[in-house]
């Protein structure tokens, strides 16, 4: 059951360059990945330059593709306002999983960050907030000790300083390489949110591609306001295991942002171009005040 679930999520994660629909169009071998972008949702191929100018949104189907943490931060925070928290925190190896440290080091090189979430304080249109950005390039932004601890500290800081929290979630779920310790991070982060909540502070979740598994079943579902980017994958279990259980095809929009909205688990779907002003507007409506201009 669960094993299939993870397998499916993982398989879908790896689908980026080999979406089934795209394959139907035939000859797509040897696409130079640095020059062209092929949409994992609709299969449309676009020039990388145009795709990037479009903030990594598919011009054809509006799929909001994954961003690195640096790209997200740059699109979200006011210039020069970001102060990072806990930048040097790194994971230990709770169950002595073979080569875990090595894997982490590779990821650190690749993503230019020590772990799968970057947290800190910033301003958005002048509104001060605590921000967390998960980067799916880092071990599919799975949640281990460091992700759990950094998110918990971010909420504790926000509770103490009466600040709203905005989390851009993306994750394959709990980090299996850390065993049951990773499972406990779901409870730990939810506890910190409970206290932030009791202190009357605002928490906005922005669901980005993909938000699944243990992160979906903890802090990603606990926002006062839950926003999703168009066409992103959001869900608890994997699509294929569900398909295998029910023995019939699932609709294309199953476990998308639109599916979440339809079923009552997201407040709104917001385009990338509108995100900053939407976040600022929500903070304003919750009586937070702008820092001086």
């Amino acid at each position: 059951m669960l094993e299939d679930l993870f397998k499916v999520v993982k398989a879908r994660f790896n689908d980026d360059n080999s979406a089934e629909k795209a394959d139907k169009s035939g000859e797509d071998v040897n696409i130079p990945h640095d020059l062209l972008f092929k949409c994992p949702r609709c299969g449309t191929v676009a020039y990388m330059e145009d795709f990037e100018k479009n903030r990594k949104v598919c011009a054809f189907c509006n799929y909001h593709a994954r961003l690195t943490w640096q790209e997200r931060l740059q699109l979200t925070a006011d210039a020069d306002t970001f102060k990072e928290f806990d930048a040097n925190m790194i994971s230990k190896n709770p169950i002595d999983f073979p080569d875990y440290e090595k894997k982490i080091r590779e990821m650190q090189q690749k993503c230019d960050t020590k772990e799968a979430v970057v947290t800190g304080e910033c301003e958005i249109h002048g509104y001060k907030c605590v921000i967390g950005i998960m980067d799916s390039n880092f071990l599919m932004a799975s949640m281990g000790s460091v992700v759990g601890e950094k998110i918990t500290r971010a909420f504790e800081y926000a509770t103490k300083n009466k600040l709203p929290v905005i989390l851009f979630t993306a994750s394959g779920g709990a980090r299996m390489q850390e065993g049951t310790v990773s499972l406990m991070q779901m409870a730990k982060t939810s506890g910190a949110i409970a206290r932030h909540n009791q202190a009357g502070q605002l928490y906005i979740t922005v669901l980005t591609d993909p938000t699944t598994g243990g992160v979906n079943a903890s802090f990603a579902s606990l926002g006062d306001i839950i926003i999703a980017e168009p066409k992103v994958l959001v869900g608890f279990a994997g699509r294929r295991v569900i398909q295998d259980t029910i023995k019939q095809q699932l609709p294309d929009d199953f476990q998308t942002a639109e599916f979440m909205l339809e079923n009552g688990f997201a407040d709104m779907i917001v385009e990338r171009t509108m995100m900053r002003r939407t976040l600022a507007r929500i903070m304003k409506l919750h009586n937070y005040e702008r820092e001086k201009e």
């Binding site: 094993e3 002595d96 779901m186 910190a192 979906n216």
Partner: protein, 267 residues
């Protein structure tokens, strides 16, 4: 304490004669009154809820129910709850809070159910909500893992003041088979995964995740249900008495810190 390997324990907790919560409740409690439904959608038979007395003290019981035969398993969905099961548990926990009644959770699940309806009704949200709400529930919450503690589906009934495990119970982020399948792309390495994952009660004591180990009958709970039930009952009586005497604000601070301290990192 026995020296069974994790793999041996895995087969013990999946043994067809392993006692379930339906065996333990009449052996440990009196006057069990079952309560049904989440008040939003329906009644999930994978989660049993109700009020009973333990040494004449009323307590709320929330339990994941494994079936003892195929009929029971069909009814309880092999102990894999849907969102309404978690929401029923939360509703009854809130009712317990209102009347200052301790909550006792019995965990025994391979995991939360994965299906279309579960997704539509918000499986992730239901689990998340329980994690947050149980953290601040103003009444004692004690969890006992009877057999399988499978992932987030188990955790949703395990956020409380103390966690006890039966000596052969396991508590993991994913099944050993799933672990092998994903990390090594070879489900056949299930046994190896099981030994590596550190999921036995002793392992979890070392991590500070488990607080107590409850002895089973020699060779496993199935060999003497009455003895095992009596051990569980003895533990629960002591724990309920202890937490009922604790100041509630101190108890909530300790509950937060039980989870707050778990994590292995350096900076």
């Amino acid at each position: 304490m026995n020296k069974l390997t994790a793999t041996e324990r895995l087969s013990l907790i999946r043994h067809k004669n392993r006692p379930t919560v339906n065996d333990y409740i009449p052996a440990i409690f009196n006057n069990f009154l079952e309560l049904h439904g989440d008040r939003y959608y329906g009644d999930d038979h994978a989660v049993l809820g109700g009020i009973a007395t333990l040494n004449s003290v009323p307590v709320t019981i929330l339990a994941q129910v494994k079936g003892r035969n195929i009929e029971e398993n069909k009814r309880t969905n092999f102990s894999m709850p849907h969102p309404e099961g978690y929401r029923k548990a939360l509703r009854l926990a809130k009712e317990a809070e209102k009347f200052h009644r301790p909550v006792i959770c019995f965990v025994d699940t391979p995991g939360a159910f994965c299906g279309v309806e579960a997704e539509k009704r918000g499986q992730g949200e239901a689990i998340a909500r329980n994690l947050m709400e149980f953290m601040t529930l103003r009444t004692p919450v004690i969890t006992v893992i009877l057999g399988e503690g499978g992932s987030g589906g188990a955790l949703a009934l395990a956020v409380g003041d103390e966690l006890a495990m039966l000596e052969n119970a396991l508590y993991s982020v994913i099944s050993p088979r799933g672990f092998a399948s994903i990390l090594w792309k070879d489900p056949g390495r299930e046994k190896e995964a099981c030994e590596l994952m550190k999921i036995t009660a002793e392992d979890l004591m070392d991590f500070g995740i488990c607080d107590r180990i409850i002895s089973e009958a020699m060779g496993g709970a199935q060999n003497d249900m009455t003895l095992t039930a009596s051990n569980i009952g003895e533990y629960l009586s002591e724990a309920v008495a202890r937490f009922s005497k604790t100041n509630i604000d101190i108890m909530l601070e300790n509950r937060y810190n039980r989870f707050r301290k778990i994590g292995m990192f350096e900076e």
